[in-house]
Amino acid sequence: MARLQSMKMKRVGVLPGFGLSLGFTMFYISLLVILPLSMVFINTVSVEWAKIWQTISDPRVMASYKLSIGASLTAACINVVFGVLIAWMLVRYRFPGARIVDGLVDLPFALPTAIAGIALTTLYTKNGWLGQFLSFKVAFTPLGIIMALTFIGLPFVVRTVQPVLQNLDQEMEEASASLGANRLQTFVKVIFPELLPAALTGFALAFARALGEYGSVVFIAGNMPMRTEITPLLIMTKLEQYDYAGATAIAAVMLIFSFILLLIINLLQWRTNRKFI
């Protein structure tokens, strides 16, 4: 017993509860994450390869990949530009209502996505508040999807860039100015390189979130095959048709893509943290 105890202590230090907390954690994630998610791959493996290939390379599915990735990338790019701008404004400028604006940035995290979807759709339909002034269609086109995905991803870039900007040593900027650089040069050569890792992390987070997004998109997309059908919606459609094998195959493609993104995000965040802490 004493031996056992000392062996345990050797590994885990003095605080109690290692076995209990890790055991519960492992049990919980095995049951709720690992087992369910592995079902996607188990079910895929049990189907013929040719059939899987046929499903995931079907023109309609291919069109959905293109749309999902294209719209998500576009939305993430918009979010990087405006996210950095908003973070900059919140950290550096004083203006009335700054605190409220700061709080409002998290709205997309707090608001149910379906509600965001119907609200945006209402605004941008032909007769909507904004739609009626526009000469082009937004709702039920890829543009509408980009709008919804931009909404969903908005907080990511702001919230990753903001703390980096807050902790940025202002003396660097003052040094740059004292060495004769103008404001734009200072931003491009001194500030921007510091913000880049955080902005990239925010970009990747927003992109990953947009790829899987469903609730806000289905309302505004119109869901026309080949034109405005995102990949998660295709999975849903296959499920409704009881085509479980098809749904699972597409889900496997998405999951693999998500894993790779998650890996990249973790690497990025690891690098950001190493640099700034």
Partner: protein
């Protein structure tokens, strides 16, 4: 952690005035652009929800939110949140304790797995439970033989919501407890406290704001989850419809005012979430600043 960003604890408050800044014109142009973008994407949709909700008068509004279907959707949503949030809160504390207080092999892998639900599409989160528990799923025949229903029933909704909201509390606590280290707990142990007393008297007060914030985010997501729940719910009115699903049905039936009425209720909760979040951040910041000020 592709799903949310933790509460921020700044290293140092920036309160030095910067002389080095942009020209006034540039500054105001930038502010206008940023605020314009925020108005277009955040304020306008939010305002639209409330206006649409009352477009047909308050009678329609109150009828919409007090209809039996709406009430049962509210009840189901609250029930799901009441089950999932405490479970995920307990999980979050346990996981954060294991990950931050001890060193073991495979720790970063464990953290990545905890993050996974953030990166998984809600539709897939629902799908996996269909693959497990539907009549075609691997446990399907067994469940049928024992007359247990999970998919298209409340348990399925609970499971899908559990998966989607699993990382929220853990993800909030892990960075917080990492910065706090183990010295407080060690101090408590050297003073003769037991493990449970140490946790209750020292750790819990240290993490209370982060925990609360995690719980609030988890609740907001649990209540608002649409995709995952949509897959596993039978969409049976008055039985397996949560609030977001109820909104969807109303909307698809062109009952826009009723849809927005229920949506406005949920939006109120979202605004409440934001207010609480900011209060917590403010509290946390204050305690961090005074901590530093003491030196």
């Amino acid at each position: 952690m592709a799903g949310h960003v933790s509460i921020q604890y700044p290293h140092s408050p920036v309160n030095r005035t910067m002389k080095e800044s942009e020209p006034r014109l540039v500054k105001w142009l930038l502010i206008t652009a940023a605020l314009g973008f925020l108005c277009l994407f955040l304020v306008l949709p939010l305002v639209a929800i409330f206006i649409k909700a009352f477009e047909k008068g308050s009678a329609v509004f109150s009828a919409a939110i007090s209809s039996p279907d709406a009430l049962s959707a509210i009840r189901l949503t609250v029930l799901v949140a009441l089950i999932t949030v405490p479970l995920n809160a307990i999980f979050g504390v346990a996981a954060a304790w294991a990950v931050t207080k001890f060193n073991f092999k495979g720790k970063s892998l464990l953290i990545t797995i905890i993050d996974l639900p953030f990166a998984v599409s809600p539709v897939i989160a629902g799908l996996v439970f269909v693959l497990l528990f539907s009549s075609h799923g691997i446990f399907g025949p067994w469940l049928q033989a024992h007359n247990i229903k999970i998919i298209f029933e409340v348990p399925g909704i609970v499971l899908a919501t559990l998966l989607i909201t699993l990382p929220f509390v853990a993800r909030e606590l892990i960075p917080l407890m990492q910065t706090q280290g183990t010295a407080d707990e060690e101090a408590s142990m050297t003073l003769g406290a037991s493990g449970w007393k140490t946790f209750l008297l020292v750790t819990l007060p240290n993490i209370k704001w982060g925990l609360l914030y995690g719980i609030i985010l988890c609740t907001a997501r649990a209540i608002g989850e649409f995709g995952a729940v949509s897959v596993v719910s039978g969409h049976i009115r008055g039985v397996t419809n949560t609030m977001p699903l109820h909104i969807e049905i109303l909307y698809n039936e062109y009952q826009f005012s009723a849809a927005f009425a229920v949506a406005s209720l949920m939006s109120l909760f979202a605004i409440f979430t934001l207010v609480v979040k900011n209060l917590i951040e403010w509290k946390a910041k204050k305690s961090m600043v005074s901590e530093e000020g003491g030196f």
